[in-house]
């Protein structure tokens, strides 16, 4: 089970269809198949042991992925927004890699192993024999157990870790969740998630296996995104919550007017309920899908589908209504277990640590697997399952605040804060405290017209909705909160910045 098999099937099944287009450049499935073969020969010729891709969404991205698979070497997409020093640090682990990138310094440092996106793709379209392209003989394509992709996890809490996804993980995700060639001729998916993120990768391979045309939008802005849906007749789109929030703000109460858009999928970080409710109203004829997954699980492992959204929206029963804030049910090919701190399954609907098992679950980092003896992967996320199997995510276990011996989930307080009409964004972190172990600190950004909101007003608001032990001990106001490209809060940075501001204030007043 490998990615080569998947591409072969697509080439046989619908080779003439457009696989991917971006900024006027496009590849059919048959062209992608040829590019993969030529790209694999290039890898062999220069003796590369990996292919690194540093760039935005572009047809060179799928070409480089499938060239790696055909050559039997790992594909390593890196975050092109990182600085030179950080990129060099990550690249140092792969000194023999071919690097496809538009960063000018990469070409200067190692011209023989660097290609720009455009020249790389142009080269993979040219299959004329030439003296500087000697025959390399038969290829040894990647197999089931070989590493297909290395993804550096976003590292919101520390140094990025190299997560390994083997061919069997990715192929089994696609084979068990997507029906081959299920897309009709006119279907097109608009992709705005980053190339170096699991969502960008999973999106590519599943749309390819469905036979859907992929349209890349390089730089996201709400107006450009809406216009692209209209001009390209987009039927499927995927966004992260921060993008949807920006679209909603841009629409400012108007309807989205995107009649072709059948499905809008979202994921990557927690979706604020007020944003989702507003989006459901503005995109009244579009089906919504919430996908939850991790890098280490080859993306989606739970889905809240269109029917679930409708049922939750129209229900008067609080339990059913609350499911709008869940990530839906775990897909049939994956098993879930919620365990307490001692490793025993939690009783009833009590929260605990989420464990997952299945063929798509890799749970492996460079050098070590973190799967237990029975193949379960500790996600590091805390959550709980309701009586109908809907999974609710509280957040990273590491982020849980322990105040006076009581476990407090930041997400619960953030949701309440975000529901306040004046609050645009909110983060809750735990500050070390000699008396309580940790104190609850909230950092919020305020909508333009919310000048009158004070710390006391927001603390009162939380106390009314939750209880006093979950009320923030302090509230700080920042113009903006730091988030990753997929909308995850950079909690470590928030905690550091907040702590240093507070200690500076303490020094000033003492």
């Amino acid at each position: 089970m490998d990615l080569n098999l998947l591409l072969d099937m697509a080439v046989t099944g619908y080779g003439d269809r457009t696989a991917v287009s971006a900024g006027g450049d496009a590849l059919t499935y048959a062209e992608l198949g040829r590019a993969a073969d030529l790209g694999a020969r290039l890898v062999r010729r220069i003796g590369a042991d990996a292919v690194i891709f540093v760039g935005p969404s572009h047809p060179a991205y799928p070409a480089a992925l499938f060239a790696s698979a055909a050559a039997g070497v790992p594909f390593i997409p890196l975050n092109y927004r990182l600085g030179r020093e950080q990129l060099q640090g990550l690249m140092a682990a792969h000194p023999k890699a071919l690097v496809v990138s538009d960063e000018p310094w990469i070409g200067e440092d190692m011209p023989e192993r660097a290609r720009s996106l455009r020249s790389y793709l142009a080269n993979l379209r040219d299959d004329r024999p030439s003296p500087d392209k000697p025959d390399v003989g038969p290829l040894s394509p990647g197999q089931s157990d070989d590493v297909a992709v290395v993804l550096y996890t976003s590292g919101t809490s520390g140094t990025p870790k190299a997560a390994l996804l083997r061919h069997r993980n990715l192929a089994s995700y696609v084979f068990t969740t997507v029906e081959f060639a299920n897309a009709s001729d006119e279907e097109a998916a608009l992709v705005t998630v980053p190339t170096y993120h699991i969502a960008g990768l999973a999106n590519l391979v599943s749309n390819l296996y469905a036979g859907r045309r992929i349209v890349y939008l390089e730089a996201f802005d709400p107006q450009g995104w809406l216009e692209m849906i209209r001009s390209e007749g987009i039927t499927q789109a995927m966004v992260v919550p921060t993008m949807l929030a920006r679209v909603i703000r841009f629409l400012d109460g108007a309807d989205a007017r995107v009649p072709t858009l059948r499905t809008l999928a979202y994921g990557g970080s927690r979706m604020p309920i007020p944003v989702l409710e507003e989006a459901l109203a503005r995109f009244a004829d579009t089906d919504f899908v919430n996908a939850y997954g991790l890098t280490e699980t080859s993306s989606t492992i739970a889905l809240l589908g269109p029917d679930d959204h409708r049922a939750a929206l129209t229900s008067n029963e609080p339990g059913a209504r609350a499911r709008l804030g869940s990530v839906g049910r775990v897909i049939p090919s994956v098993e879930v277990e919620v365990r307490d701190d001692n490793g025993a399954p939690t009783a009833g609907q009590l929260p605990g640590l989420i464990f997952l098992r299945g063929d798509q679950v890799s749970g492996e980092y460079a050098g070590e697997s973190v799967l237990d003896a029975d193949g379960w992967f500790p996600t590091g996320d805390r959550g709980w399952l309701d009586d109908e199997g809907y999974l609710f995510i509280e957040g990273r276990a590491d982020d849980t605040i322990i105040r006076g011996g009581e476990n407090v989930s930041p997400a619960e307080i953030e949701d309440v804060l975000m529901a306040h009409p004046a609050v645009a964004d909110a983060a809750v972190v735990g500050l070390s405290d000699d008396e309580w172990g940790q104190r609850i600190a909230a950092v919020v950004s305020i909508d333009g017209d919310g000048d009158a909101v004070t710390s006391d007003v927001l603390r009162e608001w939380v106390r009314d909705h939750l209880r006093s032990s979950k009320t923030p001990d302090l509230v700080a106001f920042w113009p903006e909160l730091p988030r990753t490209a997929t909308g995850k809060l950079l909690r470590r940075q928030i905690l550091e910045d907040l702590s240093s501001t507070l200690s500076a204030e303490n020094l000033a007043t003492s």
């Binding site: 099937m9 084979f175 060639a181 993306s299």
Partner: protein, 100 residues
């Protein structure tokens, strides 16, 4: 023993499959009565007597529930696949909503 990810082919027609879900017990897989072989094995395309079926369709998943077996057809062919003599059916499960 079958294993998920194993790729098999019919020795006498173009059909190729990959095992998606493998049964715990040993089973015999055949394509119109010829035992399946590994994808790399020598094959001779002599064809099959008429099967009266649609043959194996590219990208369809085939199941035998009693053996907990699931195969994915990666190359189409005219044969009919069977597990311990039971002809496999196309998996008709409700598709998941598109999340990508």
């Amino acid at each position: 023993m079958l294993k998920a990810g194993l790729r098999l082919a019919c020795p006498h027609c173009t059909t190729e499959v990959v095992v998606v879900r493998a049964p715990a017990d040993d089973v015999v897989l055949t394509c119109s009565e010829s035992a399946l072989v590994g994808v790399g094995s020598a094959r001779e395309e002599t064809g099959h007597p008429t099967t009266g079926t649609d043959g194996m369709l590219l990208g369809k998943r085939y199941v035998d529930e009693s053996a907990d077996l699931e195969l994915l057809c990666t190359k189409a062919g005219p044969g009919a696949l069977a597990c311990d003599g039971r002809v496999l059916g196309i998996r008709g499960a409700k598709p998941l909503p598109s999340s990508d």
